[in-house]
Symmetry: C2
């Protein structure tokens, strides 16, 4: 995370997105010569002839058969809503929502959030096909293994270059999960992975916009469609990942193939998955954890004279915003994170609402937090001392924050987090039943009960 | 085309596509420890909570609204078939079929085939929305301009690296065309381009498989969906193309921004579009053209003792296959190209059927073609001499083959090519009417007549 390199960055680029958008939106109709307009007709006629001529080709048959597997339209559910969509778009939307709060899982070795693309594709397909819960869990383990192993092979160069690695590897993970649920054989599965290999999704420039969560959503949809295409006989290169002009060498200068093959089927990357207790960047987590521990020891905001926070320089480099003006800015403020920990003992989406961030009491408390750089402290640790109005000093050192691999979220915390997210949507009773069903999904005959419980009552 | 460089190629990569396919398809259910299986349930529950929690977020609203614009399912037509699909999948399939025979248009500066992604998206959307023919032609000119200008900026590094530039820039072209048809304003159009910028599609390793034509198809679909998302309020970075970690810098080391901005709205890249007379790689075209001219001068196969063919070394490097065994291999055989020119006077998909390629007469004639390298001859030229059994020598030099910018396809040839593609699908009478309708599309009140004529009678 300390790296900030990027291949051949050009910071003086012209604003071509805006320039092209203006041209597309405002250039007058037929604002060109007759010769240009004639060429447009020639282009149109040539294109139409080519399309009509190949109308009976087996590629058309395979693609249409795959597209028709999406119909009728209402095949799979949007989680937490009454909406149903075709399964490809359900995968898209659930992939978007699961990443919208930046609160999902993290494969820490690669910063991949693997469940977004993989689970979103798998559950939508399984809902429609009627797969067992066991098949869904198998698909999840295997799909995440594929995405994270390809990520291990390419990381960090691929990420430094500008790719949002969750989307670029997620397409493969989603394709693997769906191939498994469709019970494709090895040859068809290679085609599914091959088709997916032409569709890496996601640039880091999109962070802070809706297109960031679009990346796992788009990857889920692309992977699902790749598997449907392969099932219907669509072909791809059998070396689509590793060839010199295949996916991996095209999008990464580092490729350690042994990361894919080493202990395959013995070591599972899902073992290294982690879950965020707090809805913000991971470098803030130790400070929030420490402040929540102060609160648990009885320290109240009214008692606080000053908070002394010692952290690695990277923490302030990434999240040193002193006066955040809204919830989004607060996600990049370790100072606000301390306020959330001290006042509520947690930092869920609620603590990043604008009203909470700008509340005068919270602003006043935030200004009592004094951060000091100390590079002898690890990036993943925090040293916090509360100086109280009565002169007492209370000291907390967090080596590994809650949610790290060394100090994982307990089952109770994971369930508490789930309630925080789901109770406002589904109500507490239904959420409790949904959590119970999730723990049992590996034994379930199908996923109908999960879907029913994830759908709000009218 | 003479370059054959590729960034950091590793020709000793492990066959990871097959290794992963085998793992995904054959690893036993629950073939891992209870700890791994428990982690899978934790991953599932954490993902589901995040998805439910964000179910009412505006990103979900926008994505669902865009997906619901695809319903009911039968919105747009597959050209040359009776099938109708939702417009996104119709764009996908028409993009596939229009590129399946490698017979579509070529923007020679970048080797982009721009109509595949742009026209496929535009016509499917226009069929559903009821746009005028003028709006379709406007969208085509502007969408192709966007794709080719971005291509100009990145070419050749981006292509050398391994990207199939038709798919990687085509997503932007399709998004621009659809933004135009949806009448998005400049701000929304920037969002459409931005969402599309996270979805470059296509690796060159896929050449020779169905995933090659999938690239323009996938780009058409992705561009169309990007525009639908933008229309419904989905957001992206306003610098998604040009930022250091935006699309262009992430996927190309060369970016000449002035290629995008120079003479924008004055020079139109569609003016430099070309159409293939022959259904094979463009370096074979001069040789076919020369042989077709021999045939036009009355030279018959029976008279031929020997054909002396002088070409640039690149021609044999790329298409020097002496004994092609089937139609696909014949596309890489300049020798077979000469046979097609000498016997039929053209090289359409018919001349690349296996039966034609392996016919004993054609095999015998092919073996009479002797190719000699002469690098004083341009890559785009061919020098052909027929030595006849009566001792006569007939010489043809083709400087610019038919279909080049210097010697463009005439209207008559373009229509003849269209008939060759379409007559077997739609019949000659309907094809003639369709061609007439295509020339008039810029004046048509809508595209209904085009669609009706491109649909086979039951």
């Amino acid at each position: 995370m300390a790296r900030n390199t990027q291949v051949s960055a050009d910071h003086n680029a012209l604003p071509v997105t805006q320039i092209l958008a203006t041209f597309v939106a405002t250039h007058p109709s037929k604002g060109w010569s007759d010769a240009v307009d004639h060429e447009a007709h020639r282009t149109f006629i040539n294109w139409l002839g080519c399309a009509v001529g190949a109308a009976k080709h087996e590629a058309a048959d395979a693609a249409i058969a795959a597209a028709k597997m999406l119909q009728p339209a209402a095949q799979a559910s949007v989680l937490g809503r009454a909406d149903k969509l075709d399964m490809a778009n359900a995968a898209l939307v659930n992939g978007i929502t699961s990443h919208t709060f930046d609160f999902d899982d993290t494969h820490l070795k690669t910063i991949i959030h693997p469940a977004g693309p993989v689970a979103s594709a798998a559950l939508a397909l399984a809902e429609h096909l009627g797969n067992t819960g066991r098949e869904v869990i198998d698909a999840l383990v295997i799909g995440i293994d594929v995405a994270c192993r390809v990520g291990n092979a390419m990381y960090p160069d691929h990420y430094d270059r500008g790719w949002h690695i969750t989307g670029s590897t997620g397409t493969l993970g989603a394709a693997a999960a769906c191939a498994r649920l469709l019970k494709l054989d090895t040859a068809q599965t290679a085609m599914a992975l091959g088709i997916a290999a032409s569709q890496p999704i996601g640039m880091r420039e999109q962070f802070g916009t809706m297109t960031k969560p679009f990346h796992p959503g788009g990857a889920a949809r692309a992977g699902l469609m790749s598997a449907l295409l392969a099932k219907n006989g669509f072909t791809a290169s059998t070396k689509a990942l590793e060839a010199p002009r295949g996916m991996m060498q095209t999008i990464s200068t580092k490729n350690d193939w042994s990361e894919i093959t080493g202990e395959l089927g013995e070591r599972f990357e899902i073992s290294f998955n982690s879950y965020k207790p707090f809805a913000c960047g991971i470098v803030i987590h130790p400070s929030i954890d420490a402040c929540a521990q102060l609160r648990a020891q009885g320290v109240t905001p009214e008692q606080i004279e000053r908070i002394e926070l010692k952290v690695h320089s990277l923490v302030l480099e990434l999240t040193g915003k002193k006066e955040p003006q809204d919830g989004l800015q607060a996600k990049f403020s370790v100072y606000h994170g301390c306020v959330a920990g001290l006042t509520v003992g947690q930092a869920t989406e609620d603590e990043y609402h604008d009203a909470f961030v700008t509340h005068p009491d919270n602003v006043a408390l935030r200004r009592k937090v004094v951060a000091v750089v100390d590079d002898s402290i690890d990036e993943a640790s925090a040293d916090v001392t509360a100086i109280l109005t009565d002169g007492r000093r209370v000291h907390i050192f967090v080596e590994h924050a809650i949610g790290s691999l060394q100090n994982p979220m307990t089952t109770a915390l994971l369930e508490s987090k789930f309630h925080g997210l789901s109770d406002p949507i589904l109500g507490e009773t239904q959420t409790t039943a949904l959590i119970k069903a999730c723990w049992q999904v590996g034994n379930a005959a199908d996923v109908k009960n999960i879907i029913a419980l994830a759908t709000p009552k009218k």
